[in-house]
Each structure stands twice: as structure tokens, then as C-alpha cells.
């Protein structure tokens, strides 16, 4: 177990190193950091001096080492556009993105698993056929279109829900701002959460359905029935757990994808999260923010992956191979 965790952590660190290299290359070689800092009229000599003081003339490896050292301390430099430390900017906006991703991820998982199980158990049912048809629309419509349709229906026509922003937020200790505690915050969350989660939900649903149908055909399910266990026990005690083993992996990765895809949803709903920050930074070629965003998203992916692997390990006893386990 410990060896497994250490191995996974080392692998994760390697992945982060590669991402940091890409982020650094972006930071260092896309555009000229100096011209982003100084005015048009600065002389070439002055520029060269600044270059040396900033260490931009040092060997590549030294610069990269410095970049990593700073990044580990959370220092990604100053935003060209907003003239504020990048980390500060990101931390301000992270709660908005994480709350949105959490709610839509949770909703996608709960509804996706329920609908997947339902359609697998009632394969030929009327409702199942309906759900499957609707889910096809869910996977084929692009996110921004779903967002715009929802805004049109619920914000413009029915006027039930707000169409943009995060509503009122409450500051919590530790610099976290939450929208969960105000009614306008909760209402503002609904449409973006649906927009962001719909695709993942249909994906999870189809996956659960296919996996469950597969499991229901296995010998151990037939044997469970032959032992006289009730349908309930067979379906929810035996089949569901086996279905969820592979689903966990995909769902975990989906959570990472949700955070990454939040860019589109945040743009459509003017949601003040890191995705929107990233888009605005791309427009302004604000390279430090872009680099930091890249590293952050990679870090989230890597952490989720690590958690998923550990969960997998907890759920599936076959992976817990102690030494000399296959006794006879």
C-alpha cells in the first residue's frame, strides 16, 4: 500500500515537472517579458540591463529552476494586465470555479448514476427510451449552446433565474467567498451548473448503463439470483458496486474536465472564476496568468487522479495484493 502510494506520488511529481516545463517555455518564450513591462521609449541598453537584473540572461536550466522554486512557493510573478500578483488573482477567483465545479460534478454523478442504473434495469421501458433519446441531445449539443438556450428560457422568457454573475457572496475566513449562503448566490448557480454538468451527466449515465448491462450478464450475478437473493440485493448490492469500480475512474477524470471546461460556461454566464480570468488573460497575452492557470489545472488533474487511484484501491480488493496472497 505504502509503496503504491509513493510510486503514484513520484509519477504525479514527474507529470507536474513536465507541465511546469511547458508553462515555463510559454512564460519565457511567448512574447518578450521585457517589452510587456516597460514602455515603448525604453532604450535597448536599459532593456538589456533589466534583462540581466531579472536573470533572463542566465542559462535555461537556472531559469527553469528558479521558476519551479517560485512556483512551489505560489509565486507566478505579476500579471501584465492587472499589475497584481498572479497567485492573488487566482486565489480570489478559485472559490467561484470550485463551487461551480463541485455542484455540477456532484449533480452529474448523482443523476448520471441514477439514470444509468434505471435505464439498465428497465431496458425496454418507455421512460428509459425517453431518457436515452434526451441524453443523445445532451452529448451532441455544444456547451455554449446549452447555456444560451437555458438563459433564453429560464432568464429571459420565464425570468425565474438570473442570467449572469454569481449573485451575492459571503466572505468566509481564509479568503474563501461562497455563494452557497445567499439565495441569490444559490439561484445564480443553477443554470451554470446545469450547463457545465449536462455533458458529463450524459456521459456518466451512458457509461453506467453500459457497464451495468455488462455486469448483469456475468456469472456471479446469475449465481446470486440462483441463490435466491432478492432483485434488490442483486441489483444494488452486487451489480451496482461492480459497475461503479470502472465508473469511478472516468468520473474522477470528468471532475478534472469539468474544471477545465468551466472556461466556456464561465464566459457564457460571466461567472467570476479562474476560467473567465484565463480567457481574459489570453486576449491580453497576459502570459504569467496563462502559465499559472496551466500549472493549476494540471495540479488539480493530478490530485484528482491520485485520489481516484486510491479510491479504486479501497473499493477493489483484488488490487490489494499482499505478498503471498494467492494461497491455495
Amino acid at each position: 500500500m505504502l509503496a503504491f502510494i509513493i510510486r503514484r506520488i513520484v509519477q504525479s511529481a514527474l507529470v507536474m515537472l513536465v507541465v511546469a516545463l511547458v508553462a515555463f517555455a510559454l512564460f519565457r518564450y511567448v512574447g518578450d517579458p521585457i517589452s510587456s513591462m516597460v514602455g515603448q521609449e525604453t532604450s535597448l541598453a536599459d532593456r538589456e540591463a533589466l534583462r540581466t537584473t531579472l536573470g533572463l540572461n542566465d542559462p535555461f536550466i537556472v531559469q527553469f529552476g528558479r521558476f519551479i522554486g517560485n512556483a512551489i512557493q505560489g509565486d507566478f510573478g505579476i500579471s501584465y494586465r492587472l499589475q497584481q500578483p498572479v497567485m492573488e488573482l487566482i486565489l480570489q477567483r478559485l472559490p467561484a470555479t470550485l463551487e461551480l465545479a463541485l455542484v455540477s460534478g456532484l449533480a452529474a454523478f448523482i443523476f448520471g448514476v441514477s439514470a444509468g442504473v434505471y435505464t439498465a434495469l428497465n431496458r425496454r421501458g418507455f421512460l428509459s427510451t425517453g431518457i436515452m433519446a434526451v441524453s443523445l441531445i445532451g452529448v451532441s449539443l455544444p456547451t455554449f449552446l446549452i447555456g444560451i438556450l437555458l438563459i433564453w428560457l429560464f432568464a429571459v422568457e420565464l425570468q425565474w433565474l438570473p442570467s449572469f454573475g454569481r449573485g451575492d457572496t459571503v466572505a468566509l475566513p481564509g479568503g474563501w467567498t461562497t455563494g452557497f449562503l445567499t439565495s441569490s448566490g444559490r439561484q445564480s448557480l443553477i443554470l451554470p451548473a446545469i450547463t457545465l454538468g449536462l455533458f458529463q451527466m450524459t456521459l456518466i449515465m451512458r457509461l453506467v448503463r453500459a457497464e451495468m448491462l455488462e455486469v448483469l450478464r456475468t456469472d456471479y450475478i446469475k449465481f446470486a439470483r440462483a441463490r435466491g437473493l432478492s432483485n434488490r440485493t442483486v441489483h444494488f448490492g452486487h451489480a451496482l458496486k461492480n459497475t461503479l469500480v470502472p465508473v469511478i475512474t472516468i468520473t474522477g477524470l470528468q471532475l478534472g474536465a469539468i474544471i477545465a471546461f468551466a472556461i466556456i460556461t464561465e464566459t457564457v454566464f460571466q461567472w467570476p472564476g479562474v476560467g473567465a480570468l484565463f480567457i481574459n488573460s489570453v486576449r491580453a497575452v497576459d502570459v504569467p496568468v496563462m502559465a499559472a492557470y496551466l500549472v493549476l489545472i494540471a495540479l488539480i488533474f493530478v490530485i484528482i487522479n491520485l485520489i481516484v487511484d486510491l479510491l479504486y484501491y479501497v473499493v477493489d480488493p483484488r488490487l490489494r495484493v499482499e505478498r503471498g496472497a494467492a494461497r491455495h
Binding site: 440462483a226 432478492s230 458496486k241
Partner: protein, 328 residues
């Protein structure tokens, strides 16, 4: 004669498919007396497993019983409501499947699977069920049962797993055990041990066994009577000794001649030429007629019924009728 424990009469099972209706069982009838071991043999696809599935009420839809009846201790069980049938499965009829590697749920310990089965059928507390389970494992020959019970299926070898499966099938002391090729998937070295365990325990509890197998040697040693299926029809049924020594159906004779353990002079081993017809291309008259070297005109037109050739010994072959006529 005592009332049969199991009585199958004129059983017809069909599977609707795109290429028309497949008749997997066509008018199969047989009895099993309390405590009796009935062997069932026949080529792959003859309908052995379907017969077992029909008895225990687990034919996979859209397949269904279209005619005939199945009685357990005189009571019809083929048309019971699902819940009533579920209470019979495991409690009065136990089932052992072919592959012990896939018959057990990999995510649950042996203890959990045993205890849940016991508690579904017997009124026991968790602790009582556990004690009962340990006793069962001990009885089927699992060493250190009290400790091994908390292991997962993958901790056991194939032979040990099949012992666990037998313990599960016998957990609620059923009157009938259907064993569908219980040793085919096992190492040759443990096959006879498993058959012995099954036979002994069933004998000591007075449970009848329907033993499906390809191995005539096992039938000869284990069974009281043997039923030979061919293309979904009963070809011959009778006491093992009678059938082996006086096979009255040319298919049975061919089957005996192709079995090394029964033929001393291995040069005389013969395979029946040709192969069993597909279910959608069964010839008219006797289903065996294209492969039968004794077929005559009538065989191609009229389907032979089961004809008594000796007390409790019958064969579905027109030759049998000739013989009984000549005798009389």
C-alpha cells in the same frame, strides 16, 4: 414407486430471434426421485443448461417456457409468481455453475456472500449465520475455515472456489442440487475431489442431484440414472448400467464408443460423424437421422417418441419399437 421430487413433463423452451423461433428444448420429460443422482449428457448445445435454467426459473428473456410443466414435490413451479420462485431458489433447489472463477462476486468476502445467502432463507442472526457458514466451509473441505471465511474469492484456488460455490449452493439445505458441469473449468487433478465432495454432502443430506457433464466416466461412477439429450430432445434415459451396457439409441451407442474410459481398446474409439444440427435446421422425423447409420425411411418422416426398452429405460428411436415388437 415414491412420488418423484422433480417431475418435468413435455417441456418446450423457445428463444425468439431475428432468424425465427429457436426451439432449444422440444418436449423433454423426466423425473428425479428424492436423493437420486441423475446424470445429464449430450453434445454442446443439446439443451442441458437450458433444462437446468428452466427448472430454477432463470431462463434469460426473451427465451421462455412455451409448453409443459415442472413440478417440485408435486407442486407446479414453472408458473409461480417471481417472488415465490425466488424463495424456492437456493432454499429448495441449489445451483452450482461451471466456472468457479466467475461465479463469486469478486468485491465481497466469502463470509459476506455466504451469510447473505443463509439469512435470506433461514431465520438466523448474523452471528448464527456466520457460525453456520464456517461449518459449511469446513464440511466442503476448506482448511482453516474460520480464518479463510473472511478472504476474498481471489485468495482461493479454482478447486477451493468451487468448494465455496458448493457451500453456497447447499447453504439452505436444498432438496435438489443442479450442478452444471461443475468440474469442466477445473484442473484435472481436483475434478474428482470436487465431484466426491458434492456427492457425499448431497448423499448425507438426502439431496437429489441433477449432474450435467460431458464426462461419461463421472456419470458411470456417480449417477444412478442418466439422461441423454440430443438437439433439445430426450434421446435416451435409464439406469446408468443399463444405458451403458445396452444403449438403445444409436446416438447413445456412438457417445459410449467415443469415450476412452469406457472403451478398453483405444483403437476402437470412434467419433460420431457429422455434428448436431443447428436449432433452426432440425431435420424432420428423428433429429439424429442424418448422422445415423441405421436410419430408414420412417426415421425421416416421423419423430420417434420415448419407447420403453426395459423397466425404467426408454429410448426415442424407431429401432427400439422394432425390438419390443419382436420380443412381444
Amino acid at each position: 414407486m415414491t412420488e418423484p421430487l422433480l417431475s418435468v413433463r413435455d417441456l418446450v423452451v423457445e428463444f425468439p430471434t431475428r432468424r425465427g423461433m429457436l426451439r432449444a428444448l422440444d418436449g423433454v420429460s423426466f423425473d428425479i426421485a428424492p436423493g437420486e443422482v441423475l446424470g445429464m449428457v449430450g453434445e454442446s448445445g443439446a439443451g442441458k443448461s437450458i433444462t437446468g435454467a428452466a427448472i430454477i426459473g432463470l431462463i434469460e428473456p426473451p427465451g421462455r417456457i412455451v409448453r409443459g410443466e415442472i413440478r417440485l414435490a408435486g407442486e407446479r413451479i414453472d408458473n409461480l409468481p417471481p417472488e415465490a420462485m425466488r424463495r424456492i431458489r437456493g432454499k429448495r433447489i441449489g445451483m452450482v455453475f461451471q466456472d468457479p472463477l466467475t461465479s463469486l462476486n469478486p468485491l465481497y468476502t466469502v463470509a459476506r456472500q455466504l451469510i447473505e445467502t443463509i439469512r435470506v432463507h433461514l431465520d438466523m442472526s448474523e452471528a448464527e449465520a456466520r457460525a453456520h457458514a464456517i461449518g459449511l466451509l469446513d464440511r466442503v473441505g476448506i482448511p482453516a475455515a474460520a480464518r479463510r471465511i473472511d478472504d476474498y474469492p481471489h485468495h482461493f484456488s479454482g478447486g477451493m472456489r468451487q468448494r465455496v460455490v458448493i457451500a453456497l449452493a447447499l447453504a439452505a439445505e436444498p432438496e435438489l442440487v443442479i450442478a452444471d458441469e461443475p468440474t469442466t473449468a477445473l484442473d484435472v487433478s481436483v475434478q474428482s475431489q470436487i465431484i466426491d465432495v458434492l456427492k457425499e454432502i448431497c448423499a448425507e443430506r438426502g439431496a437429489a442431484v441433477m449432474l450435467i457433464t460431458h464426462d461419461m466416466g463421472v456419470i458411470a461412477e456417480t449417477a444412478d440414472r442418466v439422461a441423454v439429450l440430443y438437439a433439445g430432445r430426450m434421446a435416451e434415459i435409464g439406469p446408468v448400467r443399463d444405458v451403458i451396457l445396452n444403449a438403445s439409441h444409436p446416438y447413445t451407442s456412438g457417445l459410449m464408443a467415443s469415450i476412452p474410459t469406457l472403451v478398453q481398446d483405444t483403437d476402437r474409439l470412434v467419433q460420431i460423424p457429422g455434428s448436431m444440427p443447428r436449432l433452426n435446421a432440425i431435420p424432420s422425423g428423428c433429429a439424429f437421422n442424418p448422422r445415423c447409420n441405421q436410419a430408414f425411411e420412417r426415421c425421416r418422416i416421423e419423430q420417434p417418441p420415448l419407447i420403453d426398452v426395459a423397466p425404467r429405460h426408454a429410448a426415442a428411436c424407431w429401432l427400439a419399437e422394432e425390438e419390443t415388437k419382436n420380443d412381444g
